[in-house]
Each structure stands twice: as C-alpha cells, then as structure tokens.
C-alpha cells in the first residue's frame, strides 16, 4: 500500500511549520512508521538544522530533480531513528528552479517506499508554495492565535481548496492558556470557527522549542515535554486514533468545564 504525502503549510512565516515537520515526522517514526521529511524551502533551508543533520548534507532536493544524484544519495538518515530520513533543500538555488510536476514526481516515487512523506512548505503563496503542495494528498495548516497568522492561514486554505486539496486539518501553535483565560488571546474555539476546518492539534507556547532547536534534537525525544506529548497525540490522530483535544480553560475558575472536542467532529 503506498504511503501518504502530507504538506505542512501556513502562509505566514515563523509560525512553526518546520518545528511541526520535525516533531511530527519523528513522532510518526517512533511509532514504527517509515517517514521521509522533504524540505521544500529552497534557498532558505532549515529542516536540516532543526533535525541536527546539517553536517550530513551531500546532495539535496534540486540535485535529485536535476538528475545529478539518485534519491537515496540525497536521503539523510536520522541519528536516532532508523526509519526516519531527511531530503534537504538546496541553499544556493531558489524556488523557481523546480516546478510542481518535479515535486509531484518525487513525492509519488517516495510513497512507494515510505509510509509518510512530510513536505515542509516555505512561507508565502508563490512558486515555492505551489511546488510544495503539488504531490500532497493531505495538508496540515499551522497557525498561531494572532491576527496575521490567521488571515494568512485562511488565504492558504482557500488556495489549497482551489487546487483540489480538500483533506485539510488545522494545527494551532504557540497557544498561551494564561492569556486565553485573561481574554487577551483568541481561544481555540474562536480560531476553529473563523477558519472552519477540522482541528488536529493544539501546541502550547514554550521555551523548550528554542532549546531543542539549539541542540538539533526534536522535542518529541524529550519524555517530559508537554509539546512532545502534543505532537505525539497529533501523530496518533493522523494514524486514526480517536484522541480528544482538550478545550481551553475558560474564565470562571480553575475547575472550568473541560469539554472534550473530538478531533474529527
């Protein structure tokens, strides 16, 4: 059975796409799946650094597409997990150097051997975006609870639907429960009702993220991290497990009602 290509996109830069690809990919591989991460941010590569694999780059995605190497030569195996690989982006080329058809061909080839192909989409909605979504069956849209990220996410969702990519789920990143309780941040429910796509996960704000990228070790390796747990739950939901998403704590006391939102409701 062929695997699934998932593009992780957002429109807005800096909301957590690369962090999501690294951690979600690692979480899926930890469950025994074979996973390849593809950095489609040509010219501004980051997935290699976040994964701690920057010293192992020999070939990159443009080399594959231009026929200078075989796919296997560009694939870098993760240091800790055998079933996890990375295909890095090129750093000195740009996004117009490949076409959507090239990316689709690569992804279609990769799903013959991998359970999951996760494509790290660049920010924006131009050629880089069009390339990154070309081979995808599913999309995960990452947003944060602030106005520009939400607006850009909405635009991206519209573009995905126009490109007939209808399997779209939302990840809300950098959520600050204290601010939500005070009324100083839009709640999970607010954001879901604005964007009107099903929610697949909520990731809290935390200093741990910078620390983990400093080290080049994705947070899901850290057993005590709440962010690690959140990404593992998203991996579970992707695999079909029915894991409820806890709703925000509302004003009105510490023991606010905890409604369980079924992730695929």
């Amino acid at each position: 059975m062929p695997g699934t290509t998932i593009v992780i996109t957002s429109g807005k830069g800096g909301v957590g796409k690369t962090t999501t690809v690294a951690n979600l990919g690692t979480a899926l591989a930890m469950r025994g799946r074979s996973v390849v991460l593809v950095d489609a941010d040509i010219g501004l590569r980051n997935l290699d650094v976040v994964m701690g694999l920057e010293n192992r780059i020999v070939y990159h995605v443009v080399d594959i597409i231009e026929g200078r190497c075989r796919i296997e030569q560009a694939m870098i195996r993760d240091r800790k997990i055998n079933s996890l690989y990375l295909i890095p982006a090129a750093q000195t080329r740009d996004k117009d150097d490949i076409r959507p058809e090239d990316m689709k061909k690569l992804c279609d080839h990769l799903i013959e051997t991998f359970d999951y192909v996760l494509v790290d989409c660049p920010a924006g909605i131009e050629q880089g975006f069009r390339n990154a979504i070309a081979g995808a069956h599913k999309a995960l849209v990452v947003t944060t609870p602030e106005v520009s990220a939400i607006r850009d996410a909405d635009r991206v969702i519209g573009l995905l639907e126009a490109n007939l990519l209808k399997d779209i789920h939302l990840i809300i990143n950098r959520v600050n429960q204290k601010m939500i309780r005070r009324g100083d941040m839009m709640s999970t429910e607010d954001i879901c009702s604005l964007l009107s796509i099903p929610l697949i996960g909520v990731i809290p704000e935390s200093e741990e993220v910078v620390i983990s990228t400093n080290r080049g070790i994705p947070l899901v390796h850290e057993k005590k991290s709440s962010i690690a747990a959140a990404f593992k739950r998203i991996a579970g939901r992707l695999e079909g497990e029915n894991i409820p998403i806890p709703s925000d704590n509302h004003e009105g006391g510490l023991l606010g009602m905890v409604k369980k939102l079924l992730w695929n409701a």
Binding site: V147, I150, R151, G158, I180, G183, M186, D190, L194
Partner: protein, 94 residues
C-alpha cells in the same frame, strides 16, 4: 485622547476584539472574487433568470459590495418580460 480613555475603560477584552475584527477581515478576503469567476457567476445568473423571464443581457450587473461590517453580492437586472407560469424557456447550453 478620548479614544485612549474609552479603551482604558472598555470592557471588551482584546481577544474578543481580535475575533470580531477577523470575522470581518476574512469575510472581505474571501469575497475578493477573481474577474473570471465573477464572469461565470454572472453568466449562470443570466441562464437561470432567462428560464423565467426575458432579461437584458447587456445591462445586467453583478458585483460585490462591501461596507464597514458587511459584504453583499448585488445584482441589477432589467426585466423586459416575464413568461407565463409553467412556460419556462429551455435554458441555453452553459
């Protein structure tokens, strides 16, 4: 100055303000329909109306109208003649 005082005493939390603003912003963004799509919408409206009445194809207008907190699709159609009940004309091929 008055605005600052109003904000200081305002009950409305910024999270709610953000949500209300976003509702309007997204409504406007989603209604920015491309010209080709507007043309298709117009032609399909002509096709439907033409089953029930004779309309002026030349002067029909279909446009998006946006105000501070609303958005609407507004159409103006000059009707020349309404067909009798049950006498719908066959619609043109689309």
């Amino acid at each position: 100055m008055l605005e600052a005082i109003k904000r200081f005493f305002s009950d409305k939390k910024s999270g709610k303000i953000a949500r209300d603003r976003m509702q309007i912003v997204l409504l406007h963004d989603r209604l920015s329909i491309e010209p080709e799509v507007m043309e298709k919408i117009k032609n399909e409206i002509i096709a439907v109306l033409s089953k029930y009445m004779e309309i002026d194809h030349q002067t029909i207008s279909v446009r998006v109208e946006q105000g501070k907190d609303y958005a609407a699709l507004v159409s103006n159609v000059h009707v020349k003649r309404v067909f009798r009940h049950g006498q719908t004309q066959p619609s043109n091929a689309q």
